[in-house]
Subunit: 237 residues, 2 copies
């Protein structure tokens, strides 16, 4: 484990356990660096992580302080909870999938553009209903370049495609661009999510990227409005 990760973990633990008074600065970087037997740069890097997580803030010429109410609610580490894929989001629940459609076809120009491929490059066109503890949760419409994700089959689709991509194919997912919007429910939503005509839908449009910058999925996730919300942390600059 990297030294700066050891430092951030240890310091996170100390803050959680109230080992530092909340109304005073924590020890300065040089003192902490001595204690952790590292350079000041490495100490700073460890603390940077906690600043990004919203646990600490710094005042130049003054010191480093614990954020008020850092642990008052359970929203700590929200940033790191923002993982890709439903399976990652709900680790203690049982996720199952009903495959509604699963085809290989040529993409339309819109899909091709999002995936940065030609319209003559075949894509998977996949619609799944995801259930959490047996309850309908979200409809996912997904397009993926077929050549990028070889061997996708029904067995994989019952489980986690992300796990297949990362564990079986050895690819690394870098991140995604998302658009979140509200829209009216359609017939497919009403049928599978058991929602009414006038129930809204929370739709997340997403392009997922591998760590080589190649888009690997273009998807629309349609959620019941009363069962889902997106949580995010925004930091200026």
């Amino acid at each position: 484990m990297k030294k700066y990760e050891v430092i951030s973990s240890e310091m996170r633990q100390r803050i959680k356990e109230r080992q530092y008074p909340a109304d005073q600065p924590i020890p300065d970087e040089i003192t902490l660096a001595k204690e952790f037997q590292c350079s000041r740069m490495t100490m700073k890097r460890g603390l940077d992580i906690l600043v990004t997580e919203g646990l600490l803030y710094r005042k130049r010429g003054h010191g480093t302080f614990i954020v008020k109410s850092a642990f008052q609610n359970s929203r700590v580490n929200v940033a790191s909870n923002e993982s890709l894929g439903l399976t990652n989001l709900l680790k203690d629940k049982v996720i199952t999938s009903n495959v509604i459609t699963f085809e290989v076809k040529f993409p339309n120009p819109e899909v091709a553009a999002r995936l940065a491929i030609d319209i003559s490059t075949p894509v998977y066109d996949l619609v799944r209903l995801r259930l959490v503890d047996g309850e309908p949760y979200v409809i996912e419409k997904t397009f993926m370049p077929a050549s990028l994700i070889p061997g996708l089959n029904d067995e994989v689709l019952q489980g986690s495609v992300y796990k297949y991509i990362t564990h079986e194919l050895g690819l690394t997912i870098a991140g995604s661009h998302r658009k979140i919007r509200a829209c009216k429910s359609e017939e497919l939503d009403q049928k599978h999510l058991f929602c009414k005509d006038d129930d809204p839908i929370l739709e997340v449009e997403q392009v997922g990227y591998l760590n080589n910058g190649v888009p690997f999925e273009y998807s629309f996730s349609r959620h019941r409005y009363d069962k889902f919300e997106v949580t995010s942390v925004h930091l200026n600059k």
Copy 2:
């Protein structure tokens, strides 16, 4: 201007202008450090910014590469576009505000908890209709500790509260926690946003924090479903 900012700006410009072949790694960090007459650490820090922006990616043992389709659409710098406040989001539009209600009152327990204050600490309770180029756009319900934002008046409310907080009060906004959801429209929405009974609403619940960790606003922004979507960039780890 800091050296690593100069470096990231210059490199961003070069990538935009296609000065480096898209299918090859850019020069290695040591070479670039020599060219910019800086240490490798500083060079790396400058490039880190472009990696975060999604313009570059690195492969250990291989090199640093330009992300495919980094500039194919206009979604570059989305991360930095994610600014707080409507006025920042739409710089070339005319934003006006109709103040629907503006009171000072004691917060209910929920609001007090979000703002990390006592229920005996007065808050502004503010509802505004924001118009873009004269067209109804969003209803914002906002709670702010009155003592934190002194001098809030009708003139300020016509314009940008964020500008008032940062420019007039000299406070620094660090970031926010957001929840995004779809919900059904209410009477207030229908009246001011001119939406129908069965039109969905995109609601953004937000707690805004100053750079000292103090929450300064708790707000609900209710958007017409056909006029707004939230865009975000997610990076793993």
